[in-house]
């Protein structure tokens, strides 16, 4: 078969070519599609809707927290809101987001394949997600759940009067969506790479998805069995966590965190992958220390399985156990630090374009750094005794999950929006939104570090009056943040009809996804590429393309 090399990247679109959007019309052609790109779009709609739902709970909580008394919502309602905020945001937004939207769309393109290894299982993943989401919605409407997203026993098994069984069953199902996505990606990366696409020519986003998929595959089943045992206890009224028959509530915590800690790496590794792509594209350089960054993804995935009990330092584990987990937690911080330094070093002698995706990623690097170093505070067990279960932890995880993962998701969405839709978004509105999000985020969450150290516990509906000023600051920030999130909803939608048509490669970036049209044809490439160039081989590409690209 003939090949497309970088030197042929001067693109001439065959007239009348259909792309994956125009290939077929009708709802069923989308709902029964096997095309990874269409499935990615299905996910895009779903997770955006769930993000808005999760955001609604957050807004309600922040308004309540303007005053020390619990005067807007009842205690039970507030407890349900923080529970549902956590469940929706973690299981239905963060964990799928980058893998299911950007990973699904881009992975075959980046490796030169026609689709993922198992297209029907890919569609099944989306349906499992939707079934779980509908179940979750039903539960919310019929009373919700108030256990916290962590479902600690015995409260969740024997004391809560809410739909614990239903919600854990929904989480169980959406877990399988995650497992199947991971399985699909792993087999795809192993078996479907185009000729010449060796492991060390892969984009770093692919390495990141590979590492993420390992975690999705191996950690999620442990959550599944933990929730299954919890469901058993809800129905039968005795179970393995029940002290009355000799069970141990701490066993639940160990089993739960064995998944839920690796889960945070499911959320951040793809974000780091996006960061590598955006930094490379907007500096027009290969990422400094490519192999270190690739290996660090694997290291994070592996080490992430060894640190779960750092969520349990005051729960009743032994002092020696605590020390071991503390040590390992410091260990897992090292590969993350490597990435931050490497991204920074890539800027040196690069050609840095401060366009929207890059602004988001620079924001990501900053906020992830803050979130990551506050993780070091929590790993210091003598310090953790004071700050655990306070707003310090809340601030820490929002810095990494929102300041980190969500910012990177926004970066990726903007970076690949032209590829996905064939349109450019309005740059100045996008930059404004990025700045609003960055500013609003910091105003919302930085005061929470102080609140936590001052002693305000988390999951508090009402609080001591001296905490009010910081809470008001936090809520003010949340309104700015919310405005920042609303803007992209509007202008990205606007761009679908009125955005400037993007060419195949509006950024002048190197990568197989940019070597096909925007939007791509159904089968991704008109001819299977044969890869003869390194990842991020900007010098070679630029020579090949001359000066024909415009940014």
């Amino acid at each position: 078969m003939s090949s497309v090399t970088l030197h042929d990247v001067r693109f001439v679109e065959p007239e009348g070519t259909r792309n994956y959007i125009t290939h077929d019309y009708g709802a069923l052609s989308w709902l029964l599609t096997k095309d990874h790109k269409r499935i990615a779009i299905l996910y895009l709609f779903s997770i955006t809707a769930l993000f808005i739902l999760g955001g609604f709970f957050a807004v309600a909580m922040r308004i309540e927290l303007l005053t020390p008394e619990g005067d807007l919502l009842t205690s039970d309602t507030y407890n349900k809101f923080f529970t549902l905020h956590g469940i929706v945001m973690i299981f239905f937004f963060l964990i799928p987001s980058i893998p299911a939207v950007l990973g699904n769309f881009l992975l075959p393109l980046m490796i030169g394949a026609k689709d993922l290894a198992f297209p029907k299982i890919n569609l099944l993943s989306w349906y499992l997600y939707m079934i779980a989401a509908v179940m979750g919605l039903y539960i919310i409407i019929t009373g919700g759940v108030d256990t916290g997203w962590t479902f600690y026993t015995p409260f969740s098994t024997q004391y809560s009067n809410t739909h614990v069984f239903g919600v854990t069953f929904a989480a169980f199902i959406v877990g399988f969506s995650s497992i199947l996505t991971g399985l699909n990606f792993l087999v795809t990366i192993h078996r479907m790479r185009a000729p010449g696409m060796t492991w060390f020519r892969l984009p770093l986003f692919v390495w990141a998805m590979y590492a993420t998929s390992i975690v999705q595959l191996l950690a999620t089943p442990v959550l599944a069995i933990t929730l299954a045992m919890l469901m058993f206890e809800r129905v039968v009224h005795v179970g393995i966590f029940d002290p009355a028959i000799g069970g141990d509530p701490l066993l639940f915590q160990h089993m739960f965190w064995f998944y839920s800690h690796p889960a945070v790496y499911i959320m951040i590794l793809p974000a780091m992958g996006v960061a590598s792509e955006v930094v490379a594209a907007f500096t027009r350089k290969k990422i400094f220390g490519y192999s270190f960054v690739a290996y660090s993804s694997l290291a994070i995935a592996f080490l992430g399985f060894l640190v779960w009990a750092h969520h349990m330092f005051v729960s009743g584990i032994s002092v020696y156990s605590a020390m071991i987990f503390s040590f390992l937690s410091y260990f897992v911080a090292v590969p993350s630090a490597i990435k931050v330094f490497n991204w920074t070093a890539t800027l040196y002698r690069g050609s840095v374009a401060l366009l929207t995706p890059m602004l988001y990623i620079l924001g990501f690097i900053g906020l992830f750094t803050i979130g990551g170093v506050t993780g070091l505070f929590l790993a210091a067990i003598g310090l953790d005794v004071h700050v655990t279960d306070t707003y310090f932890v809340v601030a820490h995880f929002h810095y990494v999950m929102v300041g980190g993962a969500v910012m990177a998701y926004m970066a990726g969405l903007h970076y690949w929006w032209p590829k996905i839709t064939g349109r450019m978004y309005p740059e100045w509105w996008a930059r404004l939104a990025a700045l609003l999000i960055f500013a609003g985020f910091n105003l919302t969450f930085f005061p929470q570090f102080v609140l936590g150290y001052l002693g305000m516990p988390r999951r508090y509906h009402a609080y001591a009056p001296e905490f009010q000023v910081l809470n008001v600051m936090s809520t003010a920030g949340a309104s700015v943040l919310a405005a920042g999130y609303v803007l992209p909803l509007i202008y990205l939608l606007w761009s679908l009809w009125y955005g400037r048509p993007a060419g195949p490669n509006p950024w002048g970036a190197v990568g197989l996804e940019w070597a096909t049209s925007s939007p791509p044809p159904m089968e991704n490439f008109h001819e299977t590429p044969v890869v003869t160039w390194d990842a991020y081989d900007y010098p070679a590409m630029m020579k090949a393309m001359g000066e024909t690209q415009n940014v």
Partner: protein, 231 residues
Amino acid sequence: MSDIAITDAAPEPHAHHPFLQHHFEDLGQQHEASTLGMWMFLSTEILFFGGVLCAYWVYRIMYPEAWALAAEQQNKLYGGLNTIVLIISSLTMALAVRNAQLGKRKATVGMLFATLLFGSTFLAIKSIEYWQHFHEGLFPGIHFTWNEVPALAPKVQLFMTFYWSMTGLHALHMVIGAGLLIWMMMRSWRGDFGPEYYGPVEIMGLYWHFVDIVWIFLFPFLYLIHGVHHG
């Protein structure tokens, strides 16, 4: 305007196999991908069962007497019989894969059917066992009336929680396996499989063997504990 044909990848040297999915380059790639996919799925099952097995071991170490006493309530005959039945079913499954590879249609169907038969035998024996245990008052919760050694009864109930949930999950996997076997039998009867395409039977075999191996762990853990207990 007429549709412009999109050039696909160059045609295969041999005729397009009816079961080659279009996103794969060739049957070899498809086979490798499917097999790898099944192994990965089995790794999730290892973590799934492994989770509850670890929990089981934590309590076994904490309550050795109660565990030994609870294991004595088990019917080793039924358990042992089931173990033999499953091992034989794995043999017939392996033979089914072999027959598929050799393109022996009727033999494949026959071996798949034999596997289904042994699998169903397992489920039948398990049902009898469950029924007996339930009537001995060994189901956790409000139906738990077993009280031969009152001091250890709560922890025997804990053991039984593990017994019922672990064997229940295993039996669920067997039922799913039985359904898959029927589907394989249908495809096999239709003549789908032969030397160049037998992947589905092979990965069916992988799944079935795995379910068998899970039982090989469950049987000694839940039936064969030797220990001292209060009379």
